[in-house]
Symmetry: D2
């Protein structure tokens, strides 16, 4: 079998979660990030709903011919983004945040709210690397206090992609050695 494509998770607030910044900036960043992820040949995984960062990242990835996976919280696909190719219907509510964390080789948080914070924390608990893009300084300081070795901060989409590339390469090297 040919090697499996890496899965990169993009997490971030839907509209209802954003408390500290206008959502538009995150939506724009997520769209560009999704596009870049697809251009690099990686699969995109998001929370799959038709709003906010999840939706924007998927739209970006589809615009560049990528494949998108959406891990939905509800028991049906009523609120799935049109830009999700593969809807996984979990029915788990917020417990699905852990499926997002475990299924992504690297997680990028674009903006921050309670749901995104849960996903980042669950990723760290599972020893997965996380990249914070456009999150408040409080988030950066907090997550780095939990585990500085796993938490990376990116200033822009290009910086986030550079981190993803390096982290995937490190993972591949570690697996080749094992």
């Amino acid at each position: 079998m040919p090697p499996r494509k890496p899965i990169v998770g993009v997490m971030g607030p839907g509209k209802t979660e954003v408390r500290t910044e206008p959502v538009d900036k995150h939506v724009d960043l997520a769209m560009e990030l999704g596009k870049q992820i697809a251009s690099h040949g990686w699969l995109l995984l998001t929370g799959g709903r038709n709003l906010g960062v999840m939706d924007a990242a998927c739209r970006g990835a589809k615009s560049a011919g990528g494949t998108t996976i959406g891990i939905l919280p509800g028991p049906d696909a009523l609120d799935v983004s049109d830009a999700v190719d593969i809807p996984i219907i979990t029915g788990l509510g917020s417990a699905r945040d852990n499926v997002n964390a475990l299924s992504s080789s690297v997680l990028v948080a674009v903006g921050m709210g309670p749901g995104t914070a849960a996903e980042v924390a669950l990723a760290l608990k599972a020893r997965k690397p996380v990249i914070l893009l456009a999150t408040q300084p409080e988030a950066e300081k907090f997550f780095q206090s939990l585990d500085a070795s796993l938490v990376h901060v990116a200033a822009d989409v290009e910086g986030a992609i550079t981190h993803v590339k390096a982290l995937l390469a490190a993972k591949e090297a570690a697996e080749a050695e094992a």
Copy 2:
């Protein structure tokens, strides 16, 4: 966006579950079924592990150029089948059986054990159609006693595919009307 490809689930015993019949028959059927599912342009979803019916169905689908999704029970991908393109790592243990049921538009059970029985029952609970292929008569009678309108019995792979085709067409027609 172009229409999403339907997801067909194939469930069945890993080695440890089979109690009533030799596993080889189910493995052969699952491989052929996976192949046919891919040939029809549908996505294949299984439990994702590297054994029994899950593995065989994925291998069959890959041999026909299909795309395979594996919903894994464990917290990592150590036991994923080589023939899974998209591993979803749930960490949920057997609670992932409900993710299998909800994420499949139609579920085909090839053989029967406790895990497969749980997946069929959870599919019926969610009002999803199920096709039983090569299951013991006790299973057919029981599941039809639960919900005759949702439970179909197929004598062979061709019969199962005929059922899948009709059920997906009915689903599409119902959605177009809604």
Copy 3:
């Protein structure tokens, strides 16, 4: 610490699941069963909602001074039975059926529907003993075809209690030996 009280699970249809028999018979049996479970000093675990077998078993247990645990599927306690002392709010939907199965030392099914079938199957998958009370013959034959050593059939509440007592004693003996 004094020894922990055993947890006995009682599962069975809410109204919407019953397809083959009038619900009243099961409600009466569940109420008596809950009462007997409490009288023996065991904790009662159910799906926790305010309908059908779950509700009746809890009411029975409370009438005899017992303690009741309800494992709720939804994200809040809006539909909890008044007779549940300890509501566990899972938000997992039907994936909570596996929490019911794992948390019970012995599971008694009173009547049968898709949800109850899932709970019985998940219990067998986890190697837990199950007692079938007032289920259709198709259910008895099917589950015994899956694992005859774990599936017991009771003709009435007294028979079910006799089975529970023997199974709990066997579990305790096995644990003492280990």
Copy 4:
């Protein structure tokens, strides 16, 4: 039926999670907190394992005659604390963190690690009040940036109990009005 006893959750690092402070301080605080929770007639809910804050809080509660609920991540009770009266075996891995958050009326975090951070974030996502006790300043600033109205900081056990009392009273008043 008499009114149900409120459930207060106490979350905090097991040994493996502590990165910023010695664990002993948290263990001592958790034990005293558990004792106070039991003295007020509330039920205690923790992650249920036999280590760190979970274990200590349960021991404290039992020393004051309380009742303790443990929501275990694994598929069996092998690592349950001796001081848990009611082990709920979820088999969900870290997805059980959301069961902890949803099932508690108020959540107290004693110390902080990735798992505790996930539980606090999931509680906020579900609009549940949280009290931070002996957490690093970065944690306080971050969670208050997410939702200042739900996040309370306590300097000591007495302060935490005062918050719990006020939050439970407010909840009861809101429910009486609804």
